[in-house]
Symmetry: C2
Subunit: 349 residues, 2 copies
């Protein structure tokens, strides 16, 4: 029997889960493959978090500092999990370092990767045109407080976002909606309009999925205060004409073809299971879903249990998730992991 909980993945979900376990009185060991904690918000250069615009680096630093302040929480960076044996209450977790750890439970928090817009189809010419960027490319510019057209080095006069790149798309196998891209594009459009007031901003979308409070936190301010133009339309091509880009498609509200010049085109790339998430199914002996994310075994009334007793998952390892989803499911996973270990230790229930 072991009282420790091993948490795999050092992004927001993993940090929150590891801190949660420690706050509930059990030792947590957080395993991160990279050299530092922070996950996608740090490594994809996020500027501000959606929807409240906190500085991403400060927010992650604060989370990491909270974790580091817990004597019960241990962090191992530059380490991956290579195997799992035993059973709930008495797992042995093998590490890439050659060590092995005893653990009562395991929490998978290996997250997502941004869709690679060059994979399979190249209709948006991401790798060909320097002024076609992804959400995270623009985040890096926003983080540097300098929004510039890459080919000219000047601020853009016209910028647009193309929604659902790598989402809601059967041709490439990504059938799901990635949930957060409508909110992130809207957040970015607000930031661009604030940094480059003369720049016109357009968002081409299929459905604006601004659920819950995002409607009033982002969607209405973007339109009313920041004059972002939302156009229901499907962009089928991005072309170069002279020294400008042209986006081409159909304006579905107006029912007519659409061809608009742009200085910068931002591809709202969706969420895919990260390499770590895809590999964890095999390493840990848990069921993935058909897309390669971790399958929640008993949704909707249990959101974090997997097919293997004692192994839990949280955050975007389970599928598209916003930060609030991620933090809530990480807290829930910490609670379920600690409860399971306590049950084993106390020999009750």
């Amino acid at each position: 029997m072991s009282e420790s909980v091993v948490v795999i993945g050092g992004g927001p979900a993993g940090i929150e889960a590891a801190r949660g376990v420690a706050d509930l009185g059990l030792p947590s060991i957080l395993i991160e493959q990279r050299e530092r904690l922070g996950g996608t918000p740090i490594f994809a250069n996020y500027a501000a978090l959606t929807p409240y615009f906190e500085d991403a680096e400060q927010a992650m630093d604060a989370m990491i500092a909270e974790l580091n302040a817990r004597p019960l929480a241990e962090v191992r960076t530059n380490t991956t999990v290579t195997g799992l044996s035993g059973e709930a209450g008495a797992f042995t977790v093998e590490l890439s370092t050659g060590e092995s750890l005893e653990a009562g439970a395991v929490i998978v928090a290996t997250g997502f990767d941004h869709f690679d817009p060059g994979r399979e189809r190249q209709i948006y010419n991401y790798y060909q045109y320097p002024d076609v960027l992804t959400l995270q490319d623009l985040e890096a510019q926003l983080k540097a407080h300098e929004v510039l057209v890459p080919s000219t080095g000047k601020p853009p006069e016209r910028i647009c976002w193309v929604q659902c790149v790598g989402s809601r798309d059967r041709n490439i196998g990504n059938e799901w909606c990635s949930k957060v891209c409508c909110g992130i594009a809207s957040k970015q459009a607000i930031e661009v309009r604030e940094m480059v007031p003369g720049c016109r901003a357009y968002i081409f979308y299929i459905d604006m999925r601004m659920y819950g409070y995002w409607e009033t936190q982002l969607y209405w301010p973007a339109q009313e205060k920041h004059h972002v133009q939302y156009i229901k339309g499907i962009i089928t091509e991005v072309l170069e004409r002279g020294d400008r880009l042209v986006v081409r498609g159909e304006d579905t509200t107006m029912g007519r073809p659409l061809e608009v010049p742009m200085d910068m085109v931002i591809l709202s790339v969706g969420m895919e299971p990260s390499a770590g998430t895809k590999s964890m199914a095999g390493v840990l002996g848990i069921e993935p879903n058909r897309y390669g994310f971790i399958e929640a075994a008993k949704p909707p009334l249990d959101t974090v249990s997997t097919s293997r007793t004692g192994v839990f998952a949280c955050g975007a390892a389970l599928g598209p998730a916003d930060l609030e989803d991620t933090i809530s499911s990480a807290g829930a996973a910490a609670g379920k992991a600690v409860a399971l270990v306590r049950r084993g230790t106390l020999q009750t229930v």
Copy 2:
């Protein structure tokens, strides 16, 4: 000092939070104003849960049975909370029964009410026409396995859902998107098409907010397998013509007026703070948001803390939430409440 956690509200969020606290080794006391647990899924007669179509009553009975199996979990029905004094770690909770309870922490799980479609405006004539129903009226029919036009007692030949009734609507002050109605309408349309195969089903929407996996769990099957027709259009009136209803509005994709006969019109009524949620702000001395839901004090990286230390909130008391959001935030709230009580007891951190 008290080790107990008082949970207010006996729906999915409260049951999950109370069970979570008990599983983490502390006593939980669940306070429910009605005569039994189950919350909105039971009292609004839900048939099947979104998106996996489990029987709602069976699912809630299973949750309640799990809670009742915990010796550390106590349930008080027919009881409301009338006051809170003291501070985190040593609260005194006053009850409508005249008793008071000592509690280390409090979790608010008082949920939502369905929007009343007769409030303020009557453009859909809900109280005038018997064949205009709400989502929960239709749930009751689905639960009875009998979908019938109220005025004729016959199965409908044409049924439609009008989305965003009481949501995304500044005129009535409900500015938020209620998040779940697109999914619930789609679930219901699938169920109606299965029970009444000859019935045509239409969903009139502004944006289909089928985020994450709902896209493939509900939206595509509804269209492809069950031939539900989705029409982007805003319905401005429901009228009677002869013995049928007529919905009138604008088909925004086709850019033309729309007038369609229907046997039944289902109003996809959104979420509002429940009476209990609205009153808890005053009773517990916590900040509501401008809509009357409980304000999360530190989102997005803390989803369940309120403005008063030691008082947490979860589920739809915080705002529009689907069942998975609710269960995750309930688990997170249980964890944070137990951690806080433990910290007080152990005098550490």
